[in-house]
Symmetry: C2
Subunit: 398 residues, 2 copies
């Protein structure tokens, strides 16, 4: 937690990963983020992983440091309260449909400087999720050794869309501070995905060659990078991106002469050319496989670290979670009282600001925990009015 | 291209994916982003995919809409010019080392309100890349059918770090607009990765259970989602996240009675519980496999679309690039004159703003294309001074 966005209040009406991470990143930078959900929780409220008590470890981590207002969004009174909350703050993050009661035009009619950031599935408004966008743009057909497609496990498009949505929100606020004008920014997962394919050169590549890139397994395209197995059976990833790393790697593995012979045979120099190291991998990889298989991992890792070579061993998630450098002693983590009652290290902002003191992570709210507070402070409702809304089931409290 | 960030000027000294995408997103939102590189190009300047002329399709897409200044960064004079450019603007995106001539403290000594966003490898400053962070946090051990680890192809951590860096830059600028104070925001790939694992509930899950999640192949964890093959051999992903999608899917496949029998046998109701649909996938999947294998894809796709069911077929990247809805007719794409001379659709901002006219994408610069312009406007160097710097090889021009 840092206080970069103090004073900014954002209403979030959302579910799953993309839209909630946009709110999460803002909250971890000090914004007041008020997540509005259906009473009892939205469609992601019980999403796995869950505890034995059916509390979602997913939800309580994606919604950390936010406030929660619970409304019956199936009723006109609940919907109107959400509209009023959006108008009261002027900032709105959502993945609700572009038309309907949370349409930007509907909300902005009474709040023209409103900034709405809307994460969508397909750009035309039809439904899509990370896992159905991903296979539409081709990544599973490039992943693994083949021939079957392999899905990613990390919801990468959701995550990228969420971070981009947080950026887009601040960009639109920056414009508003100059022009006074609000705007809606629509961010479809499908455009994030195909736009990223383009940004990485993929559209240019396949349309100009007329061919798909071959499947490469764990080999990185276009440079020297792959997994190798050491004498003691450790699998490690090694990637080279600079001339110095290349010469240091050859020295560390005693491969200088063998590679010089290969360069003479093939009439090339690998010293400064990532592409050639990739193009001639048929001859390079066997040399490296043998050299690495002749040494234990600890010996190699020490030599690689000393030489600035980029490498790492494959680990499981449990291995990573138990790595003290990565989690227990990592300043981005801290202890909080989670609504589930389960104790574990909780993450804060990915960014570290050396000039500022990092504040500890905060817990996710219980559903409706801040309903009364927010309706009082944001909409100036009286205690009696709020009590009536609770009694009639329009507002839920924790 | 949109003009949300008009008036913001950012110096970018970076390479590869994460840091350049942060600059790219700012440029596509109207900021003036000046990428400063070694004369002749940095370590990513020839990164594959390349054209037959060895122009990088990767570089020219990741650096679209930026300006380019070329300096000899191996010489004190070139380094000083880069420092002066950073100080002249007050905003800096980089993945150069945290210490050295581009250390924030060095730069900020003469520009105390400087905002520096620094993408790093490991948090301690040691080198890491997307592909060596990814296997350190466990995803390849969860991807695919097993037993071997499978790397992702999409550099997801780079991309997420880049978008988060763009967000962090604007958050720090927002703070500066209130407090007048600059700051450095350090964003290590390793913290983005392990923090994301935590945000998705992964740290909580494995530390509380003491076990890794089983490998699931193309099955989505915790809900009903998997790839299925139709009668005519089309593989499609189907994912259910709402009660309505579930009931519509059962109706579309004629599986209502069979699922009701299964619910009775197992003593559960799948209607409103994603987790149960996942937990009982041993019995559910065979029913769906048979129903889907009995129908052709076109028939199923039409029924699914009509019922709001989230699905998509697996495609290659070339299939996607040739899909007119996704690329040729998609308003985020446009035609530009690329430095490579190759013509293909170029992407703009992922976000679409219905209230504003989208401006066409812009090309990447040639190395040093804007050296003279930027040194004139930003540092007020005279024509004679610039000519001397070019003659002595400190400054490069396109």
């Amino acid at each position: 937690m840092y206080d970069l966005l103090t004073g900014l209040c954002v209403i979030e009406a959302s579910s799953f990963v993309a839209s909630p991470t946009a709110g999460l990143y803002c909250a971890q930078m000090g914004a007041e983020v008020i997540r509005v959900d259906q009473i009892g929780g939205g469609p992601d409220f019980r999403r796995w992983p869950v505890t034995p008590n059916n509390d979602s470890l997913y939800w309580e981590n994606l919604n950390r440091a936010k406030k929660s207002v619970a409304l019956d969004l199936g009723r006109p009174e609940g919907r109107e309260l959400l509209q009023r909350l959006v108008r009261s703050t002027g900032q709105f993050i959502t993945n609700f449909p572009a038309s309907g009661f949370l349409a930007h035009d509907v909300l902005a009619a009474e709040r023209p400087d409103l900034v709405t950031v809307r994460v969508m599935g397909w750009a035309d408004g039809s439904p899509a999720l990370d896992y159905t966008v991903n296979n539409s743009v081709g990544y599973p057909m490039m992943t693994g050794p083949g021939p079957d497609p392999i899905n990613h496990v990390l919801p990468a498009w959701d995550l990228l869309s969420g971070a981009y949505a947080a950026f887009a929100l601040l960009a639109a606020i920056q414009r508003r501070s100059v022009t006074g004008q609000g705007a809606e920014l629509r961010i479809p997962l499908s455009d994030v995905a195909i736009g990223t394919v383009a940004n990485l050169g993929g559209i240019a590549e396949v349309l100009s060659t007329g061919e798909n890139r071959p499947r490469l397994g764990n080999t990185v395209y276009g440079l020297f990078g792959r997994d190798f197995v050491t004498r003691d059976g450790v699998r490690a990833m090694i990637v080279v991106v600079t001339p110095r790393q290349w010469s240091n790697l050859l020295a560390a593995l005693g491969l200088g002469e063998a590679v010089t012979r290969l360069e003479a045979q093939r009439g090339v120099s690998f010293a400064k050319d990532d592409g050639l190291r990739f193009a001639h991998r048929d001859a390079l990889f066997p040399l490296f496989e043998a050299a690495i298989a002749a040494r234990d991992h600890a010996e190699l890792a020490a030599a690689f670290d000393a030489a600035g070579i980029v490498h790492s061993r494959y680990r499981t998630l449990l291995d990573a979670a138990r790595d003290p450098d990565l989690v227990a002693n990592n300043p981005i983590f801290g202890a909080v009282n989670n609504p589930s009652g389960v104790a574990y290290p909780a993450a804060g902002s990915f960014a570290t600001v050396p000039q500022l003191e990092r504040q500890p992570p905060r817990p996710a709210p219980r559903n409706g925990e801040h309903s009364e507070e927010v309706l009082t402070t944001r909409l100036s409702l009286s205690t009696g009015e709020i009590a009536h809304l609770i009694d009639t089931g329009v507002v839920g409290i924790a």
